[in-house]
């Protein structure tokens, strides 16, 4: 059964030619009938499915539409056309610590971040010490986040996001968090989540990680799916390009 089902999605951004968001210019343009709005096509006719326990890696250059695709999967950006169905609990690890606030303590941020992901606050409260311990910041949990180093923040965010079981994991370049010890630890945790039957969509420029984790790869170019298939072949073709 597919957890993620994406069918013929298109995403177009309307872009003002010279990004001038002022009312004066808008009125001027409207009077002069200068068509300054252009449609930027970020994704075109993208379809794929992801089953339970599958790890799909998305490859592509900057601006190929990888982040846009993740935003559509996260439900943040509605596709202009087509449908995107994602079943179950989503853990969006698109940018770790989005929603963290520097003036709130580590523990408060864990709670808030979890609530943003739709988790039950009560359960998270009990788990907070364990989350802090896993991230290696136990001694700092009651201090404001601004006193954390950036590595500590990233570790805490990773620990929070992966603390509960999710059906879908959306990962954007977050495997390179922290020192090598923590990287090994976080890779093991992702593997554990995969083994528990989550569907994972992974965006990474790290081809080693892709080959190691992915069961399928999608190569995006200018918003199109250029190639889809087993990771070895797609990575080889992508790197030859």
């Amino acid at each position: 059964m597919s957890v993620i089902e994406v069918k013929n999605i298109n995403v177009t951004y309307r872009v003002l030619m010279n990004k001038s968001s002022s009312i004066k210019e808008l009125i001027r343009d409207a009077i002069k009938r200068k068509a300054r709005v252009i449609d930027y096509i970020a994704l075109q006719d993208v379809s794929f499915t992801v089953d339970k326990g599958e790890v799909v890696a998305i490859l592509g250059r900057n601006g190929a539409g990888k982040s846009t695709l993740l935003k559509v999967l996260a439900g943040v950006l509605p596709p202009t056309r087509g449908t995107s169905k994602v079943g179950g609990k989503i853990a969006p690890m698109i940018e770790l610590g989005a929603g963290f606030h520097p003036e709130m303590t580590g523990a408060e941020n864990v709670l808030f971040y979890s609530a943003l992901m739709g988790r039950e606050v009560k359960g998270v409260k009990e788990r907070t010490p364990a989350i802090g311990e896993w991230a290696g910041v136990t001694d700092h949990m009651d201090f404001p986040l601004r006193t954390f180093s950036s590595g500590m923040v990233a570790r805490l965010a990773f620990a929070t996001a992966t603390d509960q079981h999710s059906d879908v994991l959306l990962v954007d370049e977050v495997l390179s968090v922290g020192d090598s010890d923590f990287q090994a630890k976080s890779k093991a945790r992702i593997q554990e989540i995969i083994n528990n039957g989550a569907a994972v969509v992974l965006v990474s420029h790290d081809m080693r990680a892709v080959l190691e984790l992915a069961t399928r790869a999608i190569w995006l170019e200018n918003g199109h799916v250029k190639m889809i298939g087993n990771p070895e072949e797609v990575v080889a073709a992508y790197e030859a390009n």
Binding site: R14, S21, V76, I90, A98, G99, M104, G118, E120
Partner: protein
């Protein structure tokens, strides 16, 4: 509701964060309206104090106006800004974006209710009895929160789409203070001017508010109708427009 706990956390954050680094913390919520009112009282007490209808005391009269317009002004600005501020979250994790302006309005409402404590004190000091109708200020607060949330929802879209809106809104809010009878009694104005001031919905909210806590103010049934209708229309229209334009706006975050 699934997002109730998130709204609670947001409200909590809103209330505590502003004073996180200050010594008396949330005590500023009590002190701020007192200080603002005190300044205005010193300036205006000679000018208008003697002309209040029905032996109302000037200090509580003024403070009611300060509390109400502060709630409105800060609430509108903060809820309109809340979506742009949380853009980083909203473009990565799915949460209904409306909860940010809503949480901000609720925080404003709680601040308003906290403000009732110094208001009651000022009433006592200036020798004016609190009315038995005092609990009705809850109604005024709720209606004002709906009004603020509705306006905030619309403005939050505009703030993202056009940077100019911020400046226009600031000017507009400044004018609004003067066309609301905060520090002058309505009765000192000529009949034509009175009509204009009464077209401002905030005037109705304020009149009802003053009527609720003091024994000697009067209120018109038109004010009640105006208050309820503007708050309901605001939240209905605001959430509709928001839902309509949000999909196109989220890409601009």
């Amino acid at each position: 509701m699934k997002y109730a706990q998130l709204i609670r956390l947001l409200v909590n954050r809103e209330l505590t964060l502003r004073y996180k680094r200050s010594v008396i913390g949330i005590g500023w919520t009590l002190l701020n309206p007192v200080l603002t009112s005190a300044v205005l009282w010193v300036i205006f007490s000679f000018v208008f104090a003697a002309r209040l209808p029905g032996q109302q005391q000037f200090a509580p009269y003024l403070m009611a106006g300060v509390l109400l317009t502060t709630f409105f002004n800060q609430g509108v600005l903060a809820s309109a800004e809340s979506i742009a501020h949380n853009g980083a979250v909203l473009s990565k994790i799915y949460v209904p974006p409306q909860i940010f302006p809503i949480a901000t309005s609720i925080a404003g409402l709680l601040n308003f209710f906290i403000g009732m404590i110094p208001l009651a004190l000022v009433c006592a000091i200036s020798g004016q009895m609190l009315s038995w109708k005092f609990p009705l200020v809850v109604l005024v607060g709720l209606c004002l929160a709906l009004l603020v949330a509705g306006i905030g929802l619309v403005l939050s879209i505009l703030f993202i789409r056009f940077d100019d809106t911020r400046n226009i809104v600031n000017v507009f809010l400044m004018i609004l203070i003067y066309v609301t009878p905060v520090f002058y009694p309505l009765t000192i104005l000529g009949p034509k001017l009175q009509v204009i001031i009464q077209l401002n919905p905030l005037t109705s909210y304020l009149e009802i508010f003053r009527w609720a806590f003091s024994n000697n103010a009067v209120v018109n049934w038109v004010d009640w109708v105006y208050m309820f209708s503007t708050s309901l229309i605001s939240i209905a229209v605001g959430s509709r427009l928001f839902r309509k334009y949000w999909p196109r706006t989220v890409a601009m975050l």
